[in-house]
Symmetry: C2
Subunit: 224 residues, 2 copies
């Protein structure tokens, strides 16, 4: 998942299209905190998240970390580069994944419907990453956090009364490493939104969006 307002989240379509075929393998599970794969691993299958959440990360030698993306149900993860994984993939919660043999996807020898869905997923991935560039390169801390919460609400929010509620499966540090900020800044910014009554918190991981319009305005216009 990338922070993209116009995300129609079509990977779900991939999952729905293909679960009826015989091309997929048996679902796998990973417990919270476990690796699904690591950078450098040979890629023989790629995955569609069925339930739970994962994070894709890259590390610098000195310990700095960048979270490339979060994977939520419907997302495809594990696109290879030169036949190898290019990020680590860790489970944020207990997670269920649907594996697909990569070789058949790559060279088109398998199910053509599956193959086309794979190509479409890769193209959507590119477009979503392009949008994420704008956020990393050109948005302020408040804009980043607001964009993140807005996207999460659209993608994973559940109606509660008149509002939408989000259950964040990742830590503040994860959010920070995704947005190119520090945990302190993320925490401060979320506190600010709470004080302004844009959101409400029940514990650190449950967010209720009280004023989606205000959140949207902050996500796009604010520069401070």
């Amino acid at each position: 998942m990338y922070v993209t307002i116009s995300n129609e989240h079509k990977d779900q379509a991939f999952y729905e299209q293909t679960t009826e075929t015989i091309s997929h393998l048996r679902p796998i599970r990973a417990a919270c905190g476990k690796h699904v794969f690591r950078e450098g691993d040979k890629v023989d299958r790629i995955y569609v998240v069925v339930s739970g959440a994962v994070r894709l990360t890259r590390l610098l030698e000195d310990g700095r970390r960048q979270i490339i993306a979060f994977g939520f149900p419907g997302d495809m993860v594990g696109f290879p580069s030169h036949g190898r994984h290019h990020t680590d993939c860790e489970a944020l919660t207990t997670v269920q994944l649907e594996p697909y043999r990569f070789s058949s996807l790559e060279n088109g020898t398998g199910d053509p419907v599956l193959h086309k869905a794979f190509v479409q997923a890769a193209l959507r991935e590119i477009a979503a990453m392009q949008d994420h560039f704008v956020m990393l390169g050109r948005k302020s801390a408040t804009e980043k956090v607001a964009s993140f919460l807005e996207t999460m609400a659209q993608r994973l929010g559940e109606p509660v009364g008149n509002y939408r509620q989000i259950s964040l499966s990742m830590s503040r540090a994860d959010i920070a490493d995704f947005l190119g900020l520090t945990t302190e800044t993320v925490s401060r910014t979320i506190s600010l939104f709470r004080k302004r009554q844009v959101i409400a918190l029940y514990g650190a991981h449950t967010v209720v969006v009280l004023r989606p319009d205000a959140l949207h305005a902050i996500a796009n216009r604010d520069r401070g």
Copy 2:
């Protein structure tokens, strides 16, 4: 082009593989400053840069700009999202482009060799963008500029005496919008490298890398 040290730049392979087939259309030209395509345009063909350079950009409503990538000879540009272009593409110099019908690439009905090359190009694009995330999100201004110059030298540098020389086809503002900085910061950082004799300048657009090792060290380790 993204700033990736380990970039083996295999898109050249695509170009070489496919120029002998009959699948490609007649090359097109665009003069410096002209648009090759615009965000929102319907995608019926995608392009491989033959000569010259282009920039791929996205804009925010308030005028902030992010350059998604530069396209140099061998690079494939124009990956669509939902059938439409997702960035603007402008010529930085007079540029020659080799167009390919996208429909045949997408659904695999055309040349299978071409199709596989297209899928590989998309996967490389994803991997390169992942690396670029780390730079946008986690590197300091000096690291960014040093990484940029290093990559440009590897990609486009020509041996001059014992050194490698780069001809930058983009302005300082373009570099800034690519790295998520301002023109002033880019200019100051380049001046700093010149003062430290890591590089030399002949005019604003010709750079000679005097100490590649120092440049590499700054690109990866420095945090100030």
